[in-house]
């Protein structure tokens, strides 16, 4: 019964942000996902309705960590029912503090590290497979077969790599939190997510440099290479100075015009 409820909550968690709003953020999604769990905890309809209403309060966290908070709340509510106590009013504080903490971890680890890392991995592997090196500047960029091969790696490679961690985190976090309650933070701690994020970024840097080398090696003209290095370093420096990405984007078009004026053409 409990496993089925957890399974339902897990599936519903993919719709968690469907009614994200500025006033109470993910409250509707949270209550929606808690529904199957609360049905297991509360046998009386009145208590169930009351509990569901309680979860319509403000809530915001990283979507992949939301099931952890749901599991913890289920555990606490179950404990209150088992001990015939009224629900602890500090649960709301616990819910919001966990939401805030997991939100920060998720933003840094998932959005800031795991997603760019998976993307750079898929991009570099796809480029190497689809457009092998050694073909020089005469490489047929507009070759549908190469593009198709490259896109397979991008789509399948990236989605499977990224979502393997995503699905595992949602399901394992929910089950573990439902078992351990607030002590789930020890499990989260034991994952050393921040340390992993730092490592992932370092490995990502390595892949990035491989990609840069592979890309640059396609051009033999020193003139072109100088421009490529200038654009690469220039955009990194401008980004560090908080330049907007659209400025960089259109700036590249300006650089391209200057290069054309100077007589640098492609392929050269």
């Amino acid at each position: 019964m409990k496993k089925i409820a957890l399974g339902r909550c897990f599936l519903r968690s993919f719709l968690f942000q469907a009614l994200w709003n500025f006033e109470r953020m993910q409250n509707v999604g949270f209550a929606f996902c808690m529904d199957p769990l609360l049905r297991v905890v509360y046998k009386s309809k009145h208590d169930f309705h009351e509990a569901l209403r309680r979860h319509m309060e403000y809530f915001n966290t990283h979507p992949y960590f939301a099931p952890v908070v749901m599991g913890v709340l289920m555990n606490r509510e179950q404990a209150a029912v088992d001990n015939k106590r009224s629900v602890d009013p500090t649960l709301t504080v616990l819910k919001n503090s966990m939401g805030g903490a997991f939100g920060a971890i998720g933003d840094h680890v998932i959005w800031g590290s795991w997603r760019p890392f998976s993307a750079i991995m898929a991009l570099s592997v796809g480029l190497l497979v689809g457009y092998p090196t050694g073909q020089g500047a005469s490489l047929p960029v507009y070759n549908p077969a190469s593009a198709l091969q490259c896109s397979r790696w991008w789509v399948v490679g990236f989605l499977s790599m990224f979502n393997s961690i995503h699905f595992w985190l949602r399901w394992r976090g929910l089950v573990k939190a439902a078992q351990d309650g607030p002590l789930v933070v020890k499990w989260v701690e034991s994952l050393h997510l921040q340390r992993w994020a730092a490592q992932i970024r370092r490995i990502g840097l390595l892949f990035l440099f491989v990609m840069v080398l592979v890309y640059f090696s396609r051009w033999t003209s020193s003139e072109m290479l100088i421009w490529l290095v200038a654009v690469f370093l220039g955009s990194a420096i401008l980004k560090r100075w908080r330049a907007a990405t659209w400025v960089l984007f259109y700036g590249v078009f300006l650089v391209a015009m200057v290069m054309t004026r100077l007589g640098i053409h492609w392929p050269s």
Binding site: L233, S235, T260
Partner: protein, 237 residues
Amino acid sequence: MAPVLESGSAQGMMAYRFLEGAFWAGLIALDFTALGPFMISQPLVAGPLFGWLMGNVVAGVLIGGIMQLMWMDVSPIGVSIPYDATAATLLGVYWASASGQSPLSQTALCLAFAIPFGYLFRWADQKARRINTRIMHRVESVPDEKLAMSLWAAIGTGIVWSWVRYTGLFALVFFLGDLFWKRLAYVPRLGLIDQSLTIAIILLPVAGLGVTLELFLSEGEDVDGKQAARSHKKEGI
């Protein structure tokens, strides 16, 4: 009679392509907010996928790759709504696919034209989420015994509403873009511009690699916090 029939069939094909494009673009964009997110909306997935659906994988790969690298640092941190790189990718791919296997310069031009629309879609997303607040208030006002059912209805409405607004907005922008491209087709393009656009396609991934380098080097040193704070200020939260 034959030319009339031909032009009618060409118009029918265009309308079909336009509707098909808006339908798929709306579905892919759902991943950006309402469903998952499974990351289907990331440019490196959305670009090739939409390119394949529209019959031009090459443009999808080029635009998807460039957009992914350039906007690698964009993510929905906290309550901020980021620049809609997905919408810009889908629009760029749609326009680049209009002429089948478009040349490199045409792809660069389509992408340059699509970039500002990412801000339009972000603005529309902000407005849509204010409507979500109204739906949420409706759900809150129902009696306790109907709350569970109302939550289902609200989530369903949220998904349908997201798809409808994305599809509608994509359809509108696709249509306006098509009109613009038709007019532009009659304007002779200078060799200098054509060459510059081709060079830009080579340089854009390099600039994207620079952006990604900065992201990996920054190690999250309060970049997220500053981005969120800026966004809160803009949205008046």
